[in-house]
Symmetry: C2
Subunit: 143 residues, 2 copies
């Protein structure tokens, strides 16, 4: 699902004039290979394992860089922190209101929708996001 290797992340950074620092590489590796849409705090705690002195500021700055490189998307949700999604193909986010998990769901509608909109309204689309809020399979079972 997340097809970016470490080497391609480094190349992407350098291509746009960003330095490939150890902290950034660690952050990229974590984000680009995680499927669970981590928050900045989660990234921070994870990266600290390799770089104990890393700061939250660096995490936020790097997340900004990754957005600029189009390697991640920011999912801002009501009540609380943003979550980061490195699955950049148009898709649907299934957001569980109980456990907070976010599942990426491929669906042809997600791709189609932008095309339709560009045609219907005179709107120049850049990015998209489809969220469906509800109760996930796991929470539904344990209820």
């Amino acid at each position: 699902m997340h097809q970016h290797s470490e080497a391609s992340a480094i190349a992407a950074l350098r291509k746009k004039g960003y330095k490939a620092t150890p902290q950034r590489i660690t952050i990229c590796r974590y984000i680009l290979n995680s499927r669970d849409h981590p928050s900045a705090q989660q990234v921070y705690h994870e990266v600290k394992k390799m770089h104990p002195t890393v700061s939250l500021a660096t995490v936020y700055k790097t997340l900004g860089v990754l957005k600029d490189l189009n390697l991640t998307q920011e999912l801002s949700l009501p009540q609380g922190q943003a979550r980061f999604d490195s699955y950049m193909k148009p898709h649907i986010n299934l957001v569980c209101l109980q456990c907070g998990s976010i599942i990426d769901l491929d669906d042809t509608t997600a791709i189609e929708i932008t095309r339709r909109v560009a045609a219907a309204a005179r709107f120049k689309p850049n990015a998209q996001r489809i969220d469906i809020f509800g109760i996930c399979e796991k929470c539904n079972a344990t209820e």
Copy 2:
């Protein structure tokens, strides 16, 4: 588009045991009749014209009540404040990255998508949101 009258808002409040205070009525009237997806700050400044002593806390609390009554939806966006949408029919939000405007677009896809998802993943949907980020017609023209 926004079909709620003041009387029906008062009825909705009372039905769930909320008091219909003057502040709440003013906030409801403003939110339910605005098409421009105001932020809490905008609501606050607007309501202040009628109730100069109203507090931001009351605005936030009332916005919470309106969410509970299913009369508004909170649109949290990257970089900044949440915006509030009183158009509750499934639709697409066209979010302009330049001027910040949000346009509601009716599209059959918006309704269809939840049905498909409920079937595809074993997910119990509650609410949905479709955002397309880009440049609106107006900004595109003045560019």
